[in-house]
């Protein structure tokens, strides 16, 4: 609960009455915000938009900020768990023939590490940031389909629990995060381990898809009046493109995991070459998702970079249009290069060369982005604060990752480095350098908005240098050991290959990198409890989220801003132009037109409801049960249907009527 919600009950306006109506009539008017003074406006809106009290109330919340905070914290916890996996693996690998962890556990460790980082940390955290920021940045009061959004969170968290409880029971997937058949298939993965992978994927992706749809509709239909397409902030553009990529990529992995579980559970032959299936089909389907996945994680990070750089370079991003077009281009191109993960499978040479070209091609829009950011930074003297430091860290590492990506795109070169530590190094440079560093920067950048307090700058700088050194010490030598012939996913290696020392160095770096996150966690907690109060706009940034209080009230804005510039707060230094006329006794928000963002409809946003949670429990139980018997889908359909009907059935709120 944000402090803005802590209004005393006495100050609240009277409970509204509900009415039963017999026919369609012109909408009954409630009180409007037109001409209302700020104090009573606040009282009305706080009453209307509050999250109900009590545990049930908290579980019923549909406030995008509440959900997003939960998402962020959960994803951060999963990051820590995944990081612990990594540390455990690095300890085992710190010397040759180390007997600390056997293959059975090690294989679960790296699979859980990959699954956790990709599906439980990276995607959820970028989407969660979007859930928090997008409605604020486009100037609306809540995300579109808030109940779907809440449902998404519950599904996500139970999916994560599902995977991790399995791990605790030593039945975690042990087939790698991309779980190639036939290894993950019915014959070579006995037990439920691969089933856990398949169902957990299918259903955490349900949450990603829900969030993506909500984000798209929020951006397209709920933008503040005047925020035409050319005035949408770059971060919002990034989230929009990402959400589209999610919509078209995630079904692929759901199809893949569903095919897998069908093969395993009911004996279909989709991946069985002996009966007309094909093992490579799995790889095609998986990477059709898997490569865009990288951009799903990376594009929001570019949005963060595009937000942080202007704030600290003290000017709008250079080449706004170019950046937007690059985002869109990357989104499109990301679907055209999945095959470069499969060069070593022996595909026809000509086809492989085509994918070399397309993989190289995507470097161009990414290059455009990099150059535009650099050009932005060239203007004057940037203010160097922790967020910007992490952006520098992003440049330093991501460019390496991008360039090694160019190496991987080359078919012949890939044949040497594919599935080695070189690749491990590459994608950690891309994912950590390209996404985690911007995320850390974003954490420092938006922390004051979320909590109302600043994080420590001093600790932040320590954190940055520790992370930079630890990261590069851990991952740079992996390039080398990969070229020396060390394959990935080995739980040990022979002493005579002389990989011992360099691995020890890597492990030390990994521990250092992990410690940097301990420092970060401390800084987070410390900042939230003891940080200096931040004020509305501590960085003097230009986008709309800084126009409201920190932390924002449950209703986000007392009145909906009217946007005149891509950086509205810089353009309207005196007073923010706003729209008036919304009801204050109902959760009204403005629906605008897609391109020009002309206000079009005053529509009601959904009220808090426990049903999304119940639906998520029904869905979760169904999925859990379904790894044991396919009949679970039949039996589970009934509770799911009941909870969905409960969810959509109107309760007599004004939001539902009229």
């Amino acid at each position: 609960m944000s402090s803005a919600d802590l209004t005393s009950e006495r100050d609240l306006p009277p409970e509204r009455e509900t009415s039963v109506r017999g026919d369609i009539a012109p909408a009954r008017d409630g009180p409007r915000d037109t001409g209302m003074d700020d104090a009573s406006l606040h009282r009305w809106l706080a009453r209307t938009w509050r999250t109900p009290p009590g545990i049930i109330g908290a579980l019923s919340s549909v406030d995008h900020k509440v959900i997003a905070r939960r998402y962020l914290i959960t994803a951060f916890l999963f990051l820590c768990l995944g990081g612990l996996n990594a540390v455990a693996m690095r300890i085992q690998l710190s010397g040759p023939q180390r007997g600390l962890i056997g293959p059975d556990l090690y294989n679960q460790l790296f699979t859980m590490h990959g699954v956790t980082m990709m599906f439980l940390f990276a995607v959820p955290i970028v989407q969660a940031t979007g859930i928090y920021l997008v409605p604020l940045m486009v100037g609306t009061r809540n995300i579109a389909f808030p109940r779907l959004n809440a449902f998404g969170y519950w599904v996500y968290v139970s999916g994560g629990l599902f995977a991790w409880v399995s791990f605790a029971l030593a039945m975690a997937p042990d087939v790698g995060w991309f779980a190639y058949v036939p290894l993950s298939g019915p014959e070579f993965s006995p037990g439920k381990r691969a089933d856990v992978w398949a169902q957990m994927i299918t259903y955490t992706e349900v949450s990603s898809l829900a969030v993506a749809v909500a984000t798209i509709v929020t951006v397209l239909k709920q933008r503040a009046p005047g925020m035409s397409l050319d005035k949408i902030p770059l971060y919002v553009w990034a989230l929009l493109v990402t959400s589209f990529v999610v919509v078209f990529a995630m079904p692929a992995v759901m199809i893949t995991s569903t095919f897998l579980i069908l093969d395993r559970l009911v004996g279909t032959h989709i991946f069985n070459p002996a009966e007309g299936g094909d093992a490579l089909l799995f790889q095609h389907l998986f990477w059709f998702f898997g490569h865009p996945e990288v951009y799903i994680i990376f594009l929001p990070a570019t949005g963060m970079v595009s937000s942080i750089i202007p704030a600290f370079a003290r000017r709008p991003a250079f080449g706004h249009l170019g950046l937007v077009l690059s985002l869109i281009a990357v989104g499109f191109l990301s679907f055209g290069l999945w095959v470069h993960h499969m060069f070593a499978t022996g595909l026809p040479k000509l086809g492989a060369s085509f994918f070399t070209a397309s993989s190289m091609l995507i470097a161009i829009p990414n290059g455009v982005q990099i150059f535009c950011w650099l050009a932005t930074l060239w203007d004057g003297r940037p203010v160097i604060r922790t967020p910007l430091l992490f952006v520098f860290g992003f440049f330093f590492t991501f460019v390496i990752g991008g360039l090694t990506g160019v190496m991987l795109a080359s078919v012949p070169l890939d044949l040497q480095v594919h599935d080695t530590y070189f690749v491990v190094a590459h994608f950690h440079y891309v994912l950590i350098g390209g996404s985690v560093f911007p995320l850390l920067g974003a954490a420092y950048f938006w922390f004051p908005k979320i909590t109302g307090r600043m994080m420590s700058e001093r600790l932040g700088r320590w954190h940055f240098w520790l992370a930079m050194i630890g990261f590069n010490a851990a991952f740079f030598p992996m390039h080398i050991v990969g070229l020396w012939g060390m394959p990935r996913r080995v739980y040990t290696y022979p002493a005579e290959l002389d990989w011992g020392n360099i691995n020890l160095f890597i492990s030390a770096g990994a521990v250092l990198f992990f410690l940097s996150f301990v420092l970060f966690a401390f800084n987070l907690v410390h900042g939230a409890l003891r940080g200096t109060p931040a004020g509305d706009n501590p960085w003097d940034a230009g986008t709309l989220e800084w126009a409201t209080s920190s932390p924002p009230p449950s209703y986000n804005f007392t009145r909906i801003p009217v946007v005149t510039n891509v950086e509205p707060l810089w353009a309207e230094r005196g007073a923010l132009p706003v729209a008036s006329g919304l009801r204050v006794d109902a959760r009204e928000l403005i629906i605008s037109t897609v391109a020009e963002a002309h206000p079009d409809i005053r529509e009601k946003s959904a009220t808090p409801s426990i049903w999304p949670l119940l639906a998520a429990i029904a869905v979760g139980a169904t999925f859990l049960y379904s790894i044991f018997t396919p009949w679970a889908i039949i039996w589970g359909a009934a509770p799911i249907a009941v909870t969905l009907v409960g969810w959509f059935w109107p309760k007599g709120d004004p939001e539902d009527e009229e």
Binding site: V165, A170, P186, E187, K192, R193, F628
Partner: protein, 177 residues
Amino acid sequence: MRPVVALLLFASMALAACQREERDTRPQSALGSGEQPTPVTTLEPGGQRPSPTDNKAASFEANAFHLSEGKRLFGWFNCSGCHANGGGGMGPALMDEKWIYGSSMESIHATIRDGRPNGMPSFRDKIPDDQIWELAAFVRSLSGNAPSSAAPSRNDDMMVHPSENRMPDAATLGKSP
């Protein structure tokens, strides 16, 4: 509240699942010999039959890893040459409900280890004891006697019959093949 419920759910599942998922590749030392009286008839004077004294059979019977190892060995040791994929050939069918020499794990183990007079060879000394238990567990699963959550699924081979983990269901559906 909700995590607690979920945890309880998982925990209850865990109790059953743990044993199914364990992958002990050298259980020999940890368990007894598995020697049990292995009568092949239910007819026994004296009213009561002694109950098993150690858990060897049980620890193999419902364990997914051992079942799948048994399936692999069933092919490797040419069991499938005589018994096909359970339907029989030179040897009797194993996937039906008929057990000439008894259906208990101990009986099947004894059959594999010591052979039977009408053609079943003795694999004593030829197959390590644990592997015989794995084979016995798999053989039992062929006719749907293992929990479907542990029984193997189809192989990446020609479709020969509904997989073991669907056996009882598939049989009641009366479907081919």
